[in-house]
């Protein structure tokens, strides 16, 4: 985390990490504050980056079948990584386990690195030189691959990649990914029109 360099105290940096726990939103907030943005403008940008977590929640609540009382606690861990791991699991048991293990380990690691980073213990050096920055996309790709079972999923993924990359230079951070999410309803709609003519509704949810 680079927040220590932008005027946030150690306490503020750690509070942000512990309570927001959505990496992209944290960076966006810190970046906007460092650039001199007002608190509400900065928060709005961070909020946009967090909106996609609601879409993960839609799917995860079916998949994990969480009891009502547990949901407020599970919600904090609904992020890209936990969604990707849970959705890649074959059974509900494995999905629940994946959600908890990923959520817990990331929560601990993320907040520890925030603390260490804020304390100035940046002795690790340039991790990019080791190619570690490629690990993130590779993990997502590996988790995404099993989900691309039918043509529908592949079309959605392809369209989302185009939208996400194409709009990245022109829209504010966080918005391109949300627009890319529209690939899902768009492909469903197109399929529905074609499928409706053939009466073909074979692909069902797992």
């Amino acid at each position: 985390m680079t927040s220590a360099g932008s005027g946030l105290t150690l306490l503020q940096t750690c509070a942000l990490s512990l309570l927001v726990f959505t990496g992209a939103s944290q960076f966006a907030l810190v970046g906007a504050l460092a650039a001199g943005g007002g608190p509400f403008t900065a928060a709005a940008g961070a909020f946009f980056l967090g909106v996609r977590n609601a879409f993960y929640g839609l799917r995860l609540s079916q998949l994990l079948a969480l009891p009502r009382a547990v949901r407020p606690f599970a919600a904090q861990w609904v992020i890209d990584e936990t969604a990707a791991v849970s959705l890649a699991q074959p059974t509900r048991r494995a999905a629940r386990l994946g959600f908890v293990v990923t959520g817990l380990s990331l929560y601990v690691l993320w907040n520890l690195t925030t603390l260490l980073g804020a304390l100035g213990a940046e002795a690790i050096g340039d991790t990019d030189a080791w190619g570690l920055d490629a690990a993130g996309p590779a993990v997502f790709l590996a988790l995404l691959a099993p989900m691309l079972r039918t043509g529908t999923e592949r079309t959605v993924a392809g369209l989302a990649v185009l939208l996400g990359l194409g709009l990245l230079p022109v829209l504010p951070a966080g918005v391109p990914v949300l627009v890319a999410a529209l690939a899902a309803p768009a492909v469903l709609w197109a399929r529905g029109r074609r499928g409706g003519a053939r009466g073909d509704v074979t692909e069902e949810d797992r």
């Binding site: 503020q12 927001v20 928060a43 967090g50 609540s61 079916q62 904090q76 190619g131 990359l165 999410a181």
Partner: protein, 102 residues
């Protein structure tokens, strides 16, 4: 103080959207169209994120060593390599290309 306000608003907003997704009533999610949509949305989001993490730097699109790393991961996946090997291939290839000046 304004930093605490920004943190507070972000905390509440980000938590609210996370919870909102989980609290959509099961009845709504039972409808076939909603089910299919909820299954496809993460596919779209993760695909877009993967591409952005591999091919961008801030708000500009770049083609650098990470692309080679991601391609290596894709090849490893097609060969049905185990998860850690896939990640390892991406990291090693990216570091290698970077060391060669890519």
């Amino acid at each position: 103080m304004s930093i605490w306000i920004a943190i507070g608003v972000t905390v509440i907003g980000c938590y609210a959207v996370k919870l909102a997704g989980l609290l959509v009533p099961a009845g709504v999610l039972e409808r076939p169209l909603v089910r299919r949509l909820a299954a496809l949305l993460p596919v779209a989001l993760l695909a877009a994120l993967t591409a952005q993490q591999a091919f961008s730097d801030g708000q500009s699109l770049v083609l650098d060593a990470r692309a080679a790393g991601l391609a290596a991961a894709a090849v490893a996946l097609m060969l049905r390599a185990p998860f850690l090997l896939v990640i390892g291939a991406a990291v090693v290839v990216t570091a290698g290309v970077r060391a060669l000046g890519g």
